[in-house]
């Protein structure tokens, strides 16, 4: 896993509450091998018409967002099915951060495991940032994980802000170190072995 470094990049606003994982990546693509990449399938059914043509008005199809690495979304982002492919699709499409008022729990957990950062900011602030980005297409933002700070949109008078965000310290440490969970857990073998012995004693029927 790569180390998570400060992101300064174009931020794309997406006004869609409850963007569920079926929309982020439709189930019919899930058998694809991870190596093939899921980026091109991100929001497939939202961004394209049934004949495959791209909808020009969908925010991620707009030219100014082609290099976006930050998505500013609405509440309950990534709700629904547990598919980790939703994070893969975002990440393969170049995104590193999603900022939203709230997230589907499983999506939120999956993000960290893929070096991807979900940030919760207040609902009103998310709406304000999205509005500022809509008025200033292609505006950039900064996400500084070390300082736990979001800055931007840059070069914008109305809507610029510096927002602190919360993150679990353990997850922050792993993201910054680019260490995944398995490597960390394997360093705790002793405690795991002791626990298992006690557990098997207490619940031999499991």
């Amino acid at each position: 896993m790569r180390k998570f470094e400060t992101v300064e990049a174009v931020a794309a606003p997406m006004d869609m509450a409850n963007a569920d994982t079926d929309q982020i990546i439709p189930a019919r693509f899930l058998w694809r091998a991870r190596a093939e990449g899921y980026g091109g399938l991100l929001f497939n059914d939202v961004r394209s018409a049934a004949d495959g043509s791209q909808k020009a008005d969908f925010v991620l199809n707009r030219v100014e967002n082609a290099k976006a690495e930050i998505l500013v979304a609405d509440r309950n982002f990534g709700c629904g099915s547990s598919r980790e492919h939703a994070v893969w699709a975002l990440s393969d499409a170049g995104f590193k951060v999603v900022i939203a008022p709230s997230f589907g729990d499983i999506f939120f957990n999956n993000s960290f495991k893929n070096g991807f950062l979900p940030i919760v900011l207040p609902e009103a602030r998310c709406a304000e940032i999205r509005a500022a980005l809509a008025r200033n297409p292609g505006a950039r933002m900064v996400v500084d994980l070390e300082a736990q700070e979001v800055r931007g949109p840059l070069g914008v008078n109305d809507g610029f802000g510096i927002d602190a965000f919360e993150i679990d310290p353990f997850r922050k440490e792993l993201l910054l170190a680019g260490m995944d969970d398995i490597s960390f857990t394997l360093s705790q073998q002793g405690a795991i072995g002791d626990f298992e012995a006690r557990y098997e004693d207490a619940m031999p029927w499991v």
Partner: protein, 468 residues
């Protein structure tokens, strides 16, 4: 200090807690399926092997054909490989597999309880969000992602950065005739919203759950995820013990007695405090159906589609407008006027024997006027249904009778609803495109699904005479 059942199971599975509060939990039993290939690959890439083969159980369900359980019946090589990879991994890593051709194969959340793999008081995980189903037996059951699957395969543990909060949903009273577990959970979600359980583990309490069968409890816990919760659970009781006793992977003999004694200690203390409490009156729950694209978009079948103009805020108004546009419906339209093109009875929500009995009771002597199919949840459910003659009831009523699998719940095996088609479905998700691109889903109970098939529209099953 007074504790909830959830607290107890969490504590009993806590391996270690880091100073920052992240908890490493031991996994009692782990279920894998044909979508778990990535997890095994990641394990192989690290040169690791499965830590606990005896605590790991697998079955193919998402990609299997429901027309035939020959591997060759899966038309597409990539999907076929998902199924064959599971068998190869089972052979290589030595875990128990209920494979194609084994009568015990089925939807992973149906076979867990059926085989007695699911037990009260254990932490159970599976790489599928509807793992919540297993909470019906008093297990703490989390759906996990692909990376977590590899983590569990490698270490038999799971990290949780924050302990979820506890929520209790109490439904007291007596359910009316024709009102099922599915209607109860749809009514709960309509009340608390699709994000209402977010960050919480829900315990379902109250007289109706005590009176409910295990199958009904599974239906309710299954859709905890649609309420946004991390898990759902029901305290184990005599119904649970009677259900589990003698099942192949449940404790036997003296171990059974010891286990039951321990399970009796699990229920929440009378003075346990929940972070959030919700109460519903059973008498107010009637047969439900969804009209929109979120499970919270549910209404009594006797009701009407809401008017977005009456929505509490602009966001909800926009959501209703978008949902109705996708669904091709108008505000104010009577639920019973919604014409249905197709009916699906199946999925881990409603494909157990009790569901099929309830559906057959309505189908008996009637005729579906639209294409309809029944997909049993497991080979054993199918066999039991056939022994009771239910397959004949369905076939005589014009329903297809298929092989077990996830099928049209998600359409990964190719059982799709056509674009624009309207399907009354006993599954759990009515999201945009869930059953196929442009597919329109109306979630209902098995009995209501048959009522829809017979009338070609949503219909109140309580008005149908001579059920049985």
């Amino acid at each position: 200090m007074a504790r909830t059942m959830f607290d107890r199971i969490w504590e009993q599975h806590t391996v270690l807690v880091r100073p920052d509060g992240a908890t490493l939990l031991h996994v009692g039993r782990h279920l894998v399926h044909d979508g778990s290939r990535a997890g095994f690959r990641a394990l192989a890439e690290r040169g690791m092997t499965l830590r606990h083969p005896a605590r790991t159980f697998g079955t193919p369900d998402h990609y299997v054909s429901t027309k035939s359980h020959e591997l060759a019946a899966i038309p597409e090589p990539n999907r076929r490989e998902m199924v064959s990879a599971l068998a190869e991994n089972a052979a290589a890593q030595g875990f128990t597999l209920f494979g194609l051709g084994d009568v015990r194969q089925g939807i992973v959340h149906v076979i867990g309880p059926e085989q007695g793999i699911t037990l009260p008081g254990i932490l159970m995980v599976c790489g599928d969000s509807h793992t919540a189903t297993h909470g019906a037996l008093g297990a703490l059951a989390f759906g996990i992602g692909a990376s977590e699957v590899s983590h569990v395969l490698a270490t038999q543990t799971l990290w949780q950065s924050r302990k979820p909060r506890a929520m209790r949903v109490t439904v007291d009273g007596v359910l009316g005739a024709g009102v099922t577990a599915k209607d109860v959970i749809l009514a709960i979600i309509a009340r608390i919203g699709a994000g209402g359980g977010s960050g919480h583990v829900i315990e379902y309490a109250g007289s109706i759950f005590r009176a409910m069968s295990m199958e009904g409890r599974m239906t309710v816990c299954n859709m905890s995820i649609e309420a946004g919760a991390r898990a759902g659970m029901v305290a184990p009781d005599e119904t649970t013990f009677a259900y589990l006793k003698g099942r192949p992977f449940a404790p036997q003999g003296e171990a059974w007695e010891r286990a039951v004694a321990a399970w009796r200690e699990l229920p929440s203390d009378a003075d346990a405090v929940f972070d959030r409490e919700v109460w519903l009156d059973a008498a107010e729950i009637v047969p439900m159906a969804t009209w929109g694209t979120s499970p919270e978009d549910a209404a009594p079948v006797t009701g009407a589609i809401p008017d977005p103009a009456a929505a509490p805020d602009a966001e909800r108004r926009d959501a209703i407008v978008r949902a109705l546009a996708y669904m091709g419906l108008e505000p104010g339209m009577r639920m019973e006027a919604i014409a249905i093109d197709r009916v699906f009875i199946g999925s881990c929500t409603n494909s157990r024997i009790e569901d099929l009995r309830a559906a057959a009771a309505v189908a008996r002597g009637r005729r579906a006027v639209v294409p309809a199919m029944v997909v049993p949840g497991s080979g054993l459910v199918k066999r039991q249904a056939e022994a009771e003659g239910l397959d004949q009831v369905f076939l005589a009523a014009g329903f297809e009778w298929r092989e077990p699998g996830c099928s049209m719940c998600v359409g990964m095996n190719g059982d799709l609803v056509a674009p624009g088609e309207r399907c009354a479905s006993t599954s759990n998700r009515n999201f945009v495109g869930r059953q196929g691109r442009g597919a329109r889903t109306h979630l209902v109970s098995p009995a209501m699904a048959v009522a829809a098939a017979v009338h070609g529209r949503l219909a109140d099953v309580r008005l149908m005479k001579e059920i049985g």
